[in-house]
């Protein structure tokens, strides 16, 4: 337009979708990328922009101001769109052109990648804070704490109790996945005087390396590209409370060094700031990795290792806990019996044998899932061995066949649709739970729901 480059070439090169609007705000020219965002109608020619982009409803005043030149542009960031199998995030920009035939330009660009990262970071912090605020209610449930009367479990509980008397020391919790490391960390926090202070839980393996540091230390506005506002780090949030760093073995060496400095000096700086902030917190770290051999390999700092392993707790794998498998299973049966309103009393002897004979690679978490699933499906007064579906035994896990193919054939699509709906109903709308019933990941499940238009 200003003669240097054609706007449409520029926008194509930027991989943006665009459309021009006529004075009646109808679409008069658009590129393929723009039309992709509205796949239900092949041509958008002459359609009112309000029909094509529901986000523009209500923006009549803005559009008027763009046409009159009163305003030059208007931006909406991170507009989410369901796009199978995932969500797409778009940036919508409206620009006034001063061309009387085509007075407004609409530009759509893809921001999905950046949005996903931000979403994950916020998910971590919001989820923890929401849980913490509901902790009082959960506290009662947690009071049951670690179930089990095997020697290993009794020792673990005793140690936790002793630790309540020394509230400042650093603690390292080791154990396979699902053995109760997070539960133990929370119990330690609740058993000390820090009870009413923050418990800040952070899974170091769940956030990309590049964002770990700003999550921990916080940042000032503008410290890096995505730092749109100032933000407290977890070190600050945990002040006077407990910082629980799950999967600490997944932190890289340079951040390990910085963490060690904080532990020694009890001071740190936000990214982009020169001001030192004092902080006091109890560190509880957990990992399923063997830190000692990581030290030997050089992937974990020896000095940090010695700093955090002052007191070590081992969460034993479920297969070593003798009859605790049954005790814990009974506990979960009670929990789900209440939740689902099903009067299931316990386990038949065959079911008990089946549970005892299994290796439980996913430990208590896996046991909980197995019981949950059984409780959803069972019609029996006690869980039977056929209710118990184990993942990896190979033998003895008959695939429940739904039906044999009728002579006249059947609609596979319809069958899939019905199973999806049934799973959702049984799981009372909880998608993760429904996905587990069908032994698929939540993403796959959502993808299929979408395929059958069972999702928004």
């Amino acid at each position: 337009m200003d003669g240097l480059v054609s706007i449409s070439h520029l926008l194509e090169a930027l991989k943006a979708g665009y459309a021009f609007l006529d004075p009646e705000l109808r679409i008069v020219r658009s590129n393929a990328r723009f039309r992709e965002t509205h796949p239900s109608s092949p041509s958008l020619q002459d359609l009112p922009v309000f029909d094509v982009l529901p986000e523009t409803v209500g923006l009549e005043e803005v559009l008027k101001a763009l046409r009159s030149g009163e305003k030059t542009s208007f931006t909406l960031q991170y507009i989410a769109r369901e796009a199978s199998p995932d969500i797409l995030y778009l940036r919508l920009v409206l620009v006034g052109t001063r061309d009387p035939e085509k007075p407004v330009l609409v530009v759509l660009s893809d921001e999905t990648e950046q949005a996903r990262i931000l979403q994950r970071v916020q998910q971590q912090s919001f989820e923890i804070r929401l849980m913490r605020s509901l902790l009082n209610e959960k506290q009662a449930a947690l009071a049951a704490g670690l179930i089990g009367s095997s020697g290993a479990m009794v020792r673990l509980r005793n140690t936790i109790e002793k630790l309540s008397a020394i509230p400042s020391s650093t603690i390292l919790i080791r154990g396979e996945t699902g053995t109760g490391k997070s539960l133990v960390a929370r119990m330690i926090h609740l058993s000390t005087d820090l009870r009413d202070r923050p418990f800040v839980e952070f899974n170091c393996a769940a956030v990309p390396e590049s964002l770990l540091e700003s999550e921990l230390f916080g940042h000032e506005k503008g410290a890096f590209t995505h730092a749109v506002s100032q933000k407290k780090g977890l070190l600050e949030e945990a002040d006077d409370g407990t910082l629980f760093l799950d999967e600490i073995g997944d932190i890289r060496l340079n951040l390990q060094a910085k963490l060690l400095t904080v532990l020694d000096s009890r001071k740190f700086r936000r990214l982009g700031s020169i001001r030192e902030i004092n902080t006091r917190f109890r560190l509880i770290a957990a990992t399923h990795r063997d830190l000692r051999s990581m030290v030997k390999e050089g992937s974990f700092r020896e000095d940090l290792y010695y700093r955090i392993q002052v007191i070590t707790l081992d969460c034993p794998p479920l297969r070593n806990l003798e009859d605790d498998v049954i005790r814990i299973a009974r506990h979960f049966i009670q929990v789900y019996a209440r939740e689902f309103g099903k009067p299931v009393a316990g386990l038949t002897p065959e079911a008990e044998n089946k549970l005892k004979g299994y290796r439980w690679p996913g430990n208590v978490r896996e046991l909980r899932n197995v019981i949950e699933r059984a409780m959803i499906f069972t019609e029996n007064p006690s869980l039977d061995s056929r209710d118990i579906q184990l993942q990896s035994t190979g033998e003895d896990a008959p695939v429940q066949t739904v039906e044999t193919l009728p002579d006249g054939g059947l609609s596979f699509e319809e069958l899939e649709r019905r199973l999806l709906k049934q799973a959702l109903e049984r799981a009372r709308g909880n998608q993760s739970r429904a996905a587990r019933l069908l032994k698929m990941s939540r993403d796959t499940f959502r993808y299929r729901l979408e395929k059958h238009k069972l999702l928004e």
């Binding site: 986000e55 409803v57 803005v62 960031q77 949005a115 916020q122 989820e127 605020s133 209610e137 993760s432």
Partner: protein
């Protein structure tokens, strides 16, 4: 049919997305997936009578990312809204004050817009507690005489009523 833009606002995790899902799709999930940015969903409301005449609205429902301690980001999301459902979490009384802040801010941008306050997650707290919380929310809303609904996205309690309340506010 009138197309109207309405916004859901409130602290993170108060149940905005869940209220929209219940209202539009009649579904609920216990999972928490925080909303980033905004997601717009359409829903046609049942006709509303006013002076013997039926009025029908199509809502463009803006489910907007939650705030942290009432801090406002992305103000442009609010431009041109005819109404707002301001949501607080009955289990987290600290979200009440934030709701007030957000409501004031919204009305400054869209004076005259319809506003309804929802105290959500009623299924999680005791009856006696509800009455006290409702009173607090009514005090907040009462200053500008806007209606308060005690809702549960999980049980469906007063979810539709809240959205219809918004439409009625537009007719007033």
């Amino acid at each position: 049919m009138f197309n109207k833009k309405i916004c859901l606002r409130g602290e993170f995790g108060v149940g905005k997305t869940s209220l929209v899902r219940r209202f539009v799709h009649d579904l609920f999930s216990d999972d928490y997936i925080t909303t980033l940015g905004v997601k717009v969903t359409e829903k046609v409301l049942p006709p509303i009578e006013k002076n013997g005449k039926p009025h029908q609205y199509r809502f463009m429902i803006w489910d907007i990312a939650g705030t942290e301690e009432g801090r406002i980001q992305h103000e442009s999301y609010w431009t041109g809204a005819s109404g707002a459902l301001i949501v607080a979490d009955l289990c987290r009384p600290d979200t009440f004050a934030h709701a007030k802040k957000i409501m004031d801010h919204f009305l400054a941008i869209n004076p005259g817009a319809s506003v309804v306050i929802a105290g959500n997650k009623a299924d999680l707290i005791q009856r006696q507690e509800i009455a006290a919380h409702e009173k607090t929310l009514k005090e907040i809303a009462g200053e500008i005489s806007r209606p308060v609904f005690i809702t549960s996205a999980k049980s469906g309690l007063s979810v539709e009523e809240s959205f219809i309340g918004l439409a009625e506010g537009m007719l007033a």
